[in-house]
């Protein structure tokens, strides 16, 4: 069963339009939604969670219609929003009690274990938490009610590298269960590169691509060559070009690279930047 299916998802605002998004997240996988600020990542997430009304299209979450079965779905979906949303006067213990009365499958032992593991104080009010601690508490809540799908909107923003590593490790652990899936959005592409099985690039409300990460990295490569070698390449084969004092760095499809040139690895970040520039052009 697919954890998520979006078909022709469209949402129109006077100054922004999310258009015809088609996206599939197979069960047990992690998909990274990558885009600049304002690309439509949060709008996509809000549509999935039935927080906004669709103008067109269809969304299925864990095999159910996202609107008709919203309450059942939300029992099984753990969410961390970019602004966590926990009331400022509540402490972690009170948050636990509120959530215990919210989710049918709330696991207080698991929640307390996560508070301990993430070094979160039980009695300190949320307003006194740092940005990182706030995010960690949101993550602890999302992972304590037996969710099968985590929907995470910029969850690593504001976290220091050590905590980010810890959090990413927790997401890995979560997906060891074959039924568990994650949709994670971020503009910190390096985090997603480590974590994701699939990547989706969003730009100005349009999905530039949605593909398996490894297949993507197999399809594209980086090429370093001289200016003379560059002149021999067909212009259409070059997706991105950067000239340096030492030569030229290119992004190309592996199949388009001539035998005499060495193919180097490319990162998702480089590919993302390339595609954004291509889309702008």
């Amino acid at each position: 069963m697919n954890a998520l299916e979006l078909r022709n998802v469209t949402k129109k605002y006077p100054d922004f339009c999310l258009e015809g998004i088609d996206l599939t997240l197979p069960g047990g996988c992690i998909i990274g939604l990558i885009g600049q600020n304002g690309a439509g990542k949060s709008t996509t997430i809000k549509l999935i969670l039935d927080m906004l009304q669709l103008d067109d299209g269809y969304i299925s979450v864990l095999g159910m219609d996202h609107h008709k079965h919203a309450r059942d779905i939300k029992e099984d979906v753990g969410v961390v929003l970019d602004e966590v949303g926990i009331p400022e006067c509540l402490n972690a213990r009170q948050v636990g009690k509120v959530m215990q009365n919210t989710y049918k499958n709330w696991d207080m032992a698991k929640y307390n274990e996560l508070l301990l593991r993430l070094s979160l104080p039980e009695k300190k009010p949320f307003k006194e938490f740092s940005r990182g601690m706030k995010m960690k508490l949101g993550i602890a809540v999302a992972m304590s009610h037996g969710a099968k799908l985590l929907v995470l909107d910029e969850p690593t923003g504001g976290l220091d590298p050590v905590v980010r590593d810890q959090v990413v490790e927790m997401f890995y652990e979560f997906t060891r269960d074959e039924e568990h899936s994650i949709l994670i959005s971020s503009h910190i592409v390096s985090d997603l590169e480590r974590l994701c099985d699939y990547v989706a690039f969003l730009h100005h409300g349009k999905l530039l691509l949605c593909q398996e990460k490894d297949a993507l990295l197999d399809t594209y490569c980086g090429v370093r060559c001289t200016r003379e070698q560059l002149a021999t390449l067909p212009a259409g084969a070059i997706l991105h070009k950067r000239e340096t004092p030492y030569g030229v760095e290119l992004v190309m499809k592996r199949e388009d690279v001539p035998q005499e040139l060495a193919r180097g690895p490319i990162t998702i970040e480089e590919l993302f930047v390339t595609m954004i520039k291509e889309a702008r052009a």
Partner: protein, 207 residues
């Protein structure tokens, strides 16, 4: 909905202490002043509790967060109405006790006057929150709150006017004891209608 009510309870304890302090001050003042306004005011500011909670909810983005949980928009609205109603009923009970003690102490206890006073307070405080909440659920707290203050102004004016007209005693010739129960039922109906409108508005609002 238990989780929503528990969260609102925690927040009321934290953020509405001043409401309690002001109410106590007015109730103490009521012993030394016969103006009905002094008794109306605590009931009305208790009607402001849902607005205060919604303001904090908006600031912390709780409204967005709660919509990622297995709650319906109807439940989110209903929890605020329940908290407001509970606050107003509790305050009415306190006012009732204070008024009874005051009337007994001054030796002027008359059941008819006592009940009329309580019904007037219940009607005015219920009515003021009934009018404001749908606007708040439709427009958000910042814009919606203005309607509440307008309502409080109108109701305080009515309360003050009533106290001037009626003075210390309710005139016998006025059929208030038969009119007010009907009016109370009508206002209860308005409160229910207000809840319904809030649900409709909130369902259409994209947060």
């Amino acid at each position: 909905m238990k989780g929503l009510l528990l969260k609102d309870f925690y927040m009321t304890i934290k953020y509405c202490r001043m409401t309690l302090v002001v109410s106590v001050l007015f109730l103490i003042l009521a012993f030394f002043n016969d103006s009905l306004f002094i008794l109306f005011y605590p009931g009305m500011i208790c009607g402001l509790i849902p607005t205060t909670l919604l303001a904090y909810d908006e600031r912390s983005r709780w409204l967005q967060y709660s919509m990622t949980m297995p709650y319906t928009k109807t439940q989110i609205v209903s929890s605020k109405y329940l908290i407001g109603l509970t606050g107003q009923i509790l305050m009415l009970l306190v006012i009732a006790a204070v008024q009874a003690v005051k009337m007994r102490m001054s030796g002027s206890f008359m059941l008819r006057e006592y009940l009329i006073t309580l019904m007037l307070i219940a009607i005015l405080s219920l009515f003021s929150s009934s009018v404001s909440l749908p606007f708040i659920f439709k427009l958000g707290v910042e814009k919606g709150r203005i309607t509440y203050y307008v309502m409080v102004g109108v109701v305080c004016g009515l309360g003050g006017g009533a106290s001037v007209v009626l003075g210390k005693e309710i005139p016998q010739h006025m059929a208030l004891d038969s009119v007010l129960p009907v009016l109370l039922l009508i206002v209860a109906g308005i409160y229910a209608l207000s809840w319904y409108l809030s649900v409709v508005f909130f369902k259409k609002r994209e947060i």
